[in-house]
């Protein structure tokens, strides 16, 4: 049921920031070690702060809609996303603080906590889930990571990482595959599989540009495998890193502030 708010957007944002931070930082000397690369990503993202403005174009079988959003993030624990347009929904916001997700609904001037049972629900009707927002990018903690492929694809040197969850890891995916460009460590796509090895969704990264003085993929497209033709496209327009934000910023009081 599409109840939850904000999963996908936030996850998208988080993931994108993770990748951005990861791939733009100086790489360790043994960059080919998959764990080190991913760990580096995690480490860089922790304590990283950012402010972004992006659009989210959602296409479904039943409707299309476009949202403009503004997002603030601090590490992997804190994120705040606020809808700017359409006007009818302006001010609607989602806060992630620790493992909790809250939504602010300006129409009724109330905040509501998203229950754990709704974490797999979609955010604002997009193809991202609330869980995308809450799950940290501690991939090295939750996944066994190996290089599944290394070589040239479509004329580009790439790595393909295979991430298999550790036995006790609290994750929903059966495995994840990432393809990363070797030259600049830009992600190309991430494919998410369920436990029966069925592909569930694909996130594609594109339009790599300098933003906030870093090279980042500015467009991310999420395609659910079970709904062909449906997509959510996140397009970054502004992105700043290492901004002055602290944890107090990610408070319920701030969530209610409509700007």
């Amino acid at each position: 049921m599409d109840i939850s708010l904000g999963d996908r957007t936030i996850r998208c944002l988080t993931i994108s920031l993770v990748f951005l931070g990861c791939f733009l930082s100086p790489l360790p000397t043994h960059a080919q070690d998959p764990r080190e690369i991913i760990d580096r990503v995690d480490r860089i993202m922790r304590g990283e702060s950012s402010i972004a403005r992006f659009t989210m174009d959602i296409r479904t079988e039943n409707w299309d809609r476009s949202l403009t959003l503004r997002a603030w993030s601090l590490g992997t624990e804190h994120a705040l996303i606020r809808i700017e347009t359409p006007r009818k929904e302006a001010g609607t916001a989602t806060l992630r603080a620790g493992q909790e997700v809250w939504n602010y609904l300006p129409r009724v001037d109330r905040t509501i906590k998203v229950p754990s049972s709704m974490m797999m629900g979609s955010w604002m009707g997009s193809h991202f889930t609330n869980d995308d927002l809450v799950k940290e990018s501690r991939l090295v903690d939750d996944y066994e990571i190996e290089i599944a492929f290394e070589g040239e694809r479509d004329g580009v040197e790439v790595w393909e990482f295979l991430l298999v969850p550790l036995p006790e890891a609290p994750v929903v995916w059966g495995k994840i595959r990432y393809e990363v460009r070797k030259a600049d460590f830009m992600p190309i796509w991430a494919r998410y599989y369920d436990e029966s090895d069925e592909i569930m969704r694909t996130m594609t990264f594109s339009e790599f540009r300098l933003m906030g003085s870093r090279l980042v993929p500015t467009v991310m497209t999420m395609e659910p495998a079970d709904k062909p033709g449906e997509t959510t496209v996140v397009r970054y327009h502004e992105l700043d890193f290492d901004v002055d934000l602290d944890e107090d910023y990610f408070s319920l009081r701030n969530l209610r502030r409509q700007r």
């Binding site: 599409d2 109840i3 409707w63 609904l105 009724v108 998203v114 229950p115 049972s117 604002m124 009707g125």
Partner: protein, 422 residues
Amino acid sequence: MGDRWIWWRLAWRNLCRNRRRTLITASALAFGYLASVTMIGLWGGMMTEMIETGTNLVSGQLQLHDPDYYPERSMYTTLGGRDGIDVDELLALVRDTPGIVAASPRVYGGGLISSGSETVAGMLVGVDPVHEVEVTRLLRTPVEGRAPRAGEREILIGRDMANVLDVGLGAEVVLVAPASDGSLGNDLYRVSGIFATGVAGLDGSFGILPIRSLQELMALPENRIHEVAAAVEDPWAAPALGDSLAMALAARGLDYSVLPRPWTVFRAELAEYASLAGAVNGIVVGIIFVMAVFGVANTMLLGTFERRREFAVVRALGTGPGSVALTVVYEGFILGIMALAAGALISVPVLYWLHNYPPDLSNMFGDFTMAGSVVRPVLRAEYSVDGPLISAVALLITSILSALYPAYRAVKVLPADALADI
């Protein structure tokens, strides 16, 4: 002609010869009949109650949807698709169908219900409060407050949900539900009442609100509904009624199709349980009459032995073994008819009593659950044609079967030996 009836007459006279024994034997069969009819009636009563409580609480006995509504139950799959339907026209057609007692429109949505820092995920059901009470009883008896009123932003929630949200009557709750335009519908509603069914799935996660309110929350126009729920006169007729209704609607030239879904589909476990109960009836009837077979056969065997000399005489006078056997079988049959008449006579008042003034064992036992339905411990017997008919056939078969072995023994009597024994 006279020859043919003579064996019946003989059989009758034999029965009259020892009236006390005949009476006792017939009584055994008659009480067997009473036991059988009562058991079937009580089972029937229990099944009827189970089906009623299982279907008239929230679901109704017959539902109409868009053919693609199940199994996904997408909010977009409304009757008539995106264009919607003339809801009043469909309701009128359904209500005019013979066998259908009432019909009411519904809209379903998944959503969050929140108060303070507590939020629960729930199923939101939009109903027409005026007509819904004719189909189901959830709105009829809230334990607190009242049902939501049409035109008001009110909601009826379950006791468990009220406890989790820590809200009482008059409290404001926030409803959040994905809307059909992709936006997130949200609004404030006042708790008008609280229900308590004892069914955890309902009490913890159902929120019922006026249909128009839910349509507004979900950005659905008035002509888009997910379901028409109907109550029918005879629950067992619901599947056939659904099919004929769908055909009748198609014949009316409606430009959309409707898929009927009787309770035997959406509460298949109830239907299976009821079928199982039918099989149990057969076993119970079988046991009762098998027990009777041995008792009756024993008595008849005694009677046959007493008449060994008579059989020997008639055989010596040239009567065939078949005719001798027939006399005994006829005896059994006549006994069966007498027992049936007596059994029917005593069964009628007992059934009438159990149907109209059923013993209520609530003091001794609490309500219990069968196949997910709450059943009261009330021994109410349901009238049926099958019960008395099956029991009557079983009784007559029993009486004939009981006579077969004695008949065989009678045929086996050797005239010379039997006469010489005297």
